[in-house]
């Protein structure tokens, strides 16, 4: 990459950052790029909070009888870690930050279809976050991010209602984002930009939006019913009235399993873009990868019963869900094989985004395959509710979604901020994150197989060695996440100025200056080439 010296910007180019100043220009903006930055700041804030809860938990678990807090406090820690990380960081992360910033740019539009709804979705997110923070400060909540009644509805004395309302409200932020993306991708594509010329990031955003709009409302109604039952101690889940707590689990997991695909699909989209750019090759089997995103979104709604194999769900329903859960693994496998074959005969360079993307593929493979243990009935009986589950979903969410998010932030950072970050530091951070992550979560697979249950504030002594290894890994991982925070902020002022297409990538977002002007494009571009046209002849045409 051309290492432009630190010369000041030649002429005061009008960008979305310097077009307007003052807090009003941020808090009342309708510009999808500014709303993306508002989301970036808020979810980083929540990531730090959720992350600190995780560090406290890992320190506490270094000793069998618990090293730091009372059991009740530990229960609040893991509950808030789960709620903050899932609903306030992972679900909005790529869709709300990278999606908001890039979808209009990638389709060649001036903004999303409904800018006011987009700003409303951020305010709803903040209000939901306020409710959750209130409950955390006022004394915490100890029902797990799964809110299972009758403990959460009748027996828990903590701030369940406040958190349920908080997550209820934040769900609508995700619904509005999904709605905005669906309409924008359908109705506002630039001339010539057919569906099969769309970047795969947009296919992933489209599939994610389907899940967000069709799944989240069911979570909303479920938490609404739970909050009612917690308030009035009467409801449809309470066993005294003949209610069935399993019905809550059905309704909860109907959303919450597709929610894990909300978290992973966008990361897959980012990885497709990054692999194509740094291998300078079109993604192998573009259409197959695009359709597998949508297939994951649809099949994702059929499999929730594998969370309930041991809860007294009928064995025949378990059989159906087990079969469907195995089928949903196929599209993910296809994607991994297609990414790997994209590298074949490519011209690969090792920038930070590429390191994150390759790390994603490895860790997501581990995460996905360990999911097969939980889809098969016999092994799930042994592994359900143990640390094997914790390791599995962290491999998917931290190894997959967060790696993809960091890769995306690094890949589009020049476009977002107009500056380039120091590549050496970025590569170092990626390596630390990779090592720290594996050291934290691989021992937990063994802990799970040994039978150590999750959500335990204290545990039998023979599990201590593996727990200490996991806690050591967590500190390395924590450090690995702080480094990007430092050099990315540093780069906003001191980083070398980025030209409009620093990586030589394809896609409409690279055809407008970095950072882009408020209206994105001088005039709406016309697309006349296939997606990822990195091949020789195409490159002369676009030039650089």
């Amino acid at each position: 990459m051309s290492t432009a010296t630190l010369e000041p910007r030649v002429h005061a180019q009008r960008t979305y950052l310097n077009a307007d100043y003052g807090w009003k220009s941020w808090l009342f903006t309708l510009d999808h790029k500014r709303i993306a930055l508002l989301y970036l700041v808020s979810i980083t804030f929540f990531f730090v909070i959720g992350g600190s809860f995780a560090v406290l938990m890992r320190i506490h678990l270094t000793e069998p009888q618990g090293a730091l807090v009372q059991p009740e406090t530990y229960n609040k820690l893991f509950t808030l870690h789960g709620i903050v990380m899932i609903f306030f960081f992972l679900i909005p992360s790529i869709p709300a930050v990278l999606g908001n910033f890039l979808v209009p740019l990638m389709v060649g539009a001036r903004d999303l279809a409904f800018p006011r709804l987009n700003l409303l979705s951020w305010y709803i997110f903040i209000v939901g976050g306020a409710f959750t923070l209130y409950s955390a400060i006022a004394g915490g909540v100890d029902v797990g991010w799964t809110f299972y009644p009758p403990y959460s509805s009748i027996y828990s004395q903590t701030h369940v209602t406040a958190v349920a309302v908080g997550v209820f409200i934040t769900g609508f932020s995700s619904i509005l984002t999904g709605l905005n993306f669906i309409v924008t991708i359908h109705k506002m594509r630039a001339p010539g930009l057919t569906w099969f010329r769309l970047p795969l990031f947009l296919w992933a955003m489209y599939a994610t939006s389907i899940i967000m709009t069709l799944g989240t409302p069911v979570l909303a109604i479920t938490l609404f019913l739970l909050a009612l039952e917690h308030l009035f101690h009467v409801g449809i889940f309470s066993p005294e009235l003949g209610g069935d707590p399993l019905l809550f689990q059905h309704l909860f997991w109907f959303y919450s399993h597709p929610a894990v695909y909300i978290m992973i699909l966008p990361a897959m989209g980012v990885v497709s873009e990054v692999i194509a750019c740094f291998a300078r090759k079109r993604i192998f089997g573009y259409k197959i990868v695009a359709f597998s995103s949508v297939a994951i979104a649809v099949l994702g709604f059929l499999v929730w019963g594998h969370h309930m194999f041991v809860t007294g769900q009928s064995v025949y329903a378990g059989l159906i869900f087990s079969l469907l859960s195995f089928l949903v693994a196929i599209p993910s496998a296809i994607k991994v094989f297609n990414w790997t074959s994209t590298l074949y005969k490519g011209s690969i360079s090792y920038e930070a985004p590429m390191l994150y993307a390759l790390g994603f593929i490895g860790l997501f493979t581990m995460g996905g395959l360990t999911g097969l243990f939980l889809a098969s009935l016999a092994t799930d009986v042994h592994l359900n509710g143990t640390y094997f589950i914790v390791a599995h979903f962290h491999y998917i969410m931290v190894g997959g979604a967060v790696m993809g998010y960091l890769g995306g932030i690094h890949f589009w950072w020049p476009k977002i901020s107009g500056r380039k970050y120091p590549n050496a530091w970025a590569a170092l951070a990626a390596a630390i994150v990779f090592v720290g992550f594996n050291l934290t979560f691989f021992p937990q697979f063994i802990l799970g197989y040994l039978g150590m249950p999750r959500r335990y504030a204290f545990y039998p002594a023979e599990f201590q060695v593996l727990n200490v290894m996991s806690s050591a890994g967590a500190t390395i991982l924590g450090v690995g996440y702080l480094i990007p925070l430092v050099y990315l902020i540093w780069s906003m002022r001191y980083g070398p100025v980025a030209e409009s297409n620093p990586w030589g990538a394809t896609g409409l977002e690279w055809k407008t200056p970095s950072p882009p002007p408020p209206e994105n494009f001088a005039e709406i571009p016309v697309v006349n080439e296939e997606a990822y046209a990195y091949s020789a002849q195409a490159q002369e045409a676009t030039g650089d």
């Binding site: 309409v183 109705k187 709009t213 799944g215 409302p217 909303a220 109604i221 009467v234 409801g235 449809i236």
Partner: protein, 228 residues
């Protein structure tokens, strides 16, 4: 985008759209996707209702016989009428007839008000009969104890559904009334023309959806197992 270009745009066209037709079809797709999220939102309740109705049919039937079927039927017809006036108001907005749009919007609001009024009467009846789960549930003396032997707890689940579903529906009605009021004000000021009437159509589609929810709620809650 130069200033001149901005002025040449027709009234009501947002900057991110190419033309009014694109904006209109985007708004329509947007509201329909939103209505699908509402289908799933009510869907969670209908699914739970379906399961408990299958599990405790006798108690649900007993609870359903307590409801006043006459009020339910009248309310259904009131809401259908409001759907008619809403559709007519969208049509008059389409044809650029400002006065008719305002009149039909007001008619829709009045009918909506009547519906909520009748609903209020029914709710009051339940409080009088002490069959409101959570707030005032003592059905021993009431008609319910005779109807559902041994299933009083299950009948409480039925009434929990009754209040949850009709309450959520009423909440959506109130939101709809708010939107209608906002439309009346804008229509009165002549904001809508034959080429720009998307807001009226969007609120219309939302209102018809709320009516459809009631079309299902009425038989499912009031007519369980038939009255003979």
């Amino acid at each position: 985008m130069t200033e001149a270009e901005a002025h040449a745009q027709p009234a009501g066209l947002a900057h991110q759209f190419g033309d009014l037709e694109q904006q209109q079809s985007a708004a329509t797709l947007g509201i329909w996707v939103f209505l699908v999220t509402e289908i799933m939102f009510f869907g969670g309740l209908f699914a739970s209702y379906a399961i408990y109705r299958w599990l405790y049919f006798a108690a649900f039937e007993g609870g359903s016989h307590v409801l006043d079927i006459r009020l339910g039927a009248t309310n259904t017809m009131v809401l259908l009428a409001s759907s008619l006036t809403m559709a007519l108001s969208v049509r008059s907005a389409q044809t650029g007839n400002r006065k008719a749009t305002v009149i039909f919007l007001i008619a829709t609001m009045i009918l909506g008000g009547i519906f909520l009024g009748i609903k209020g009467v029914e709710y009051n009846q339940k409080f009088v009969e002490h069959i409101v789960p959570g707030l005032d549930w003592s059905p021993e003396g009431t008609v319910l104890s005779r109807l559902a032997p041994g299933g009083l707890e299950h009948a409480q689940i039925y009434f929990f559904f009754y209040f949850a579903m009709t309450g959520l529906h009423a909440l959506h009605m109130i939101i709809g009334m708010g939107l209608l009021l906002w439309l009346v004000v804008r229509a009165h000021k002549g904001a809508f023309t034959a080429s720009y009437f998307a807001p009226v159509e969007v609120v219309g589609l939302y209102w018809h959806f709320v009516d459809i929810v009631w079309i299902f709620l009425f038989p499912l809650l009031y007519l369980i197992g038939g009255r003979y």
